[in-house]
């Protein structure tokens, strides 16, 4: 059974310039023990999508569709129920290297906070013991609990964030660019820790990144977003190696793999900028930047269609699969 199911989710922000549609009709699902990578440029709507899971969007956002967490629609939950679900059923690994930790509280206290909140019966020594165990599980000595965030390195803070996300034994972990602010070596270590924990505990995970190569190595499946829509979805190695959408290809090419001659002779980037939300072009939103665009792309509305075994693409020229 799917731990998380998004059905036709749209997010619209109210702003001084009018309504800004950041996410337009996204449907995704993640099963227990599986991980889904969400890729896309800044502003493609990745974080807006995942913020609907715990309803963490600002008040100016309107969400439509259904967000089913273990079959229960998060969007219609009462506040009390929502607070009980937050962190206990689904938790978030924020960019801990930045400012996601409270600067004036010891990290042990911050990790123990959701335990005390959601499991009232847990005694203080037990909670402290669990914090020590959680820290050791992410490769940190338990005495780190006594540190303040500014005393830790970026990688250590990110490990603390992971320990914190695991504190209440959630079913789903949303990792929002958890490795983005880290250098490549530390990024690999943190990624390894996160992947190990998720696998050992059999959790479902949604992993957001703009780095397709990170996603391909960390996730079972990939969904690529452009201008608020999913443009391609499928098993991550296939999407990475043999993309069915020119945008996925460009995104993958932006992070060359060392030793792979294809990248050596075809250094690729993508000219132009993604459209501002609300100003998406007609037809396929990607056509103005697409190297393979033809005239029909500007006039024909596109939607996600099957393009292979467990694969979907919205490109008009993706392989056709009999429906």
């Amino acid at each position: 059974m799917a731990v998380l199911e998004l059905e036709d989710v749209s997010v619209t922000y109210r702003s001084a310039e009018g309504a800004v549609p950041a996410v337009r009709g996204v449907s995704l699902s993640v099963d227990a023990g599986r991980s889904l990578g969400l890729a896309g440029e800044s502003g493609s709507g990745k974080t807006s999508v995942t913020s609907t899971v715990l309803r963490l969007l600002p008040k100016s956002a309107t969400v439509t569709g259904r967000v089913l967490l273990e079959g229960e629609d998060v969007l219609t939950m009462k506040w009390g129920r929502l607070r009980a679900v937050r962190w206990a059923t689904a938790s978030v690994v924020f960019q801990g290297a930045m400012h996601a930790l409270n600067p004036v509280q010891r990290v042990g206290h911050q990790i123990a906070e959701p335990i005390r909140l959601h499991e009232k019966s847990v005694s203080e020594p037990t909670a402290r013991k669990r914090v020590g165990e959680l820290l050791e599980q992410v490769g940190l000595p338990s005495r780190v609990a006594q540190s303040y965030p500014h005393q830790l390195s970026g990688g250590q803070k990110q490990r603390v964030m992971i320990a914190m996300a695991l504190a209440c034994g959630p079913k789903l972990i949303v990792a929002d660019e958890p490795t983005t602010a880290l250098d490549v070596m530390v990024q690999q270590q943190v990624l390894g820790v996160l992947a190990d924990r998720v696998q050992d505990l059999g959790l479902a995970m949604v992993f957001i990144s703009h780095d397709l190569s990170v996603l391909a190595s960390a996730c079972d499946d990939l969904a690529v977003m452009y201008a608020g829509q999913v443009v391609e979805q499928g098993p991550s190695d296939q999407v990475f190696d043999d993309a069915h959408h020119p945008y996925s290809r460009a995104l993958g090419g932006a992070y060359p793999r060392i030793g792979d001659l294809r990248f050596r002779y075809a250094p690729s980037g993508l000219p132009g900028d993604p459209p501002f939300p609300g100003e998406a072009p007609s037809g396929c939103a990607f056509h103005p930047r697409c190297p393979q665009a033809r005239e029909v792309c500007a006039t024909t509305d596109v939607e996600l269609r099957p393009s292979g075994e467990r694969r979907w693409s919205s490109c008009l020229f993706a392989p056709e699969v009999g429906t």
Partner: protein
Amino acid sequence: MSLIQDVAGGGGHDPVPGPPPLPRKDKGGKGLSPGASFALRKTGAALGTLFFVLVVNFFLFRLLPGDPIGMYTRGRNVPAEQLAQLRAELDRPILEQFLTYLRNPFSSTIDSAQFNRPVWELVTERIWPTLLLVGTAIVLASIIGVWIGIKAGWKRGKSFDKVSTGVTLTLYSMPEFWLGMILLIVFGVGVLGLPGVFPIGGISTPGVDTSSLAGWLDVAWHMVLPVTTLTLVYLAEYALVMRSSLVDEMDEDYLTTARAKGLSDKFVRRRHAVPNALLPTITLIFLNLGFTVSGAITVETVFSWPGLGLLSYEALRGPDVALLQAIFLLFSIGVVLANLVADLLYAVIDPRVRS
């Protein structure tokens, strides 16, 4: 409190299992904890400032134009031999005079011209009414001001915020002596045929024994108007600062983390947002402490409150140079000490400052 060794102070020995080593605290080789060396550094700096204050206070009054003996003894009948003695004192080398001054900066060689009493005696006598007045006002103002600031900042743009920001801005821009005079006229003297309720000045009714309970109540009754004046003026600033620093914290990521954990709005505010937003406000309150004592000059004058403020007004009117010198020194010490307390307190409440 904790089962686990302090990372910063404990100097732990156990090897780190994870690949990234923990940053070790540089203890400066003196075996001092970072907190203690921070406190020592700050105290040393404060002592240095104090010495500078002494130097300025000594030489500033010797730079005043005119005949110093004439100013010191203005309006008094001083025997010729004492005058000669004073002049001989001032004829000594300036460094010698300075050393004498350093030995006891508050005991001038001459008494206060107006009061005909040693300045030290006058100053110590007047310090308590000021501390009572200003202390009460600051305690009230910080509690009320911080409360208003939190309520306004957390619900930014709502009606409470609009009203309170308008009111506090008005209070903030009001001269304190003007506000004091208005309160004095309305509630002390009485307007529109209504009698005044509160006493119009002084610290107690003449003849009342201030050591009795009735005396205490009498003093409290006299405090109402001046304390209200100072409280209104101070709280405006505290409320505005608290509001803006809370608004700054509102967009911080760690509040999203706190919400995602399932904390209610109230706990997100109390446990995460307010403690962080309080940091600049607390510093401001303590930094202000030094200035508020001297800032009470006008309010004490309006309400004839027998404190240091009124004393400095009287000394300035003289001018009573010996007295002024002592008061200047005291006010400067107040500012330096308040700064030191603010620095040390900030280190206690914000762990980032210590390192």
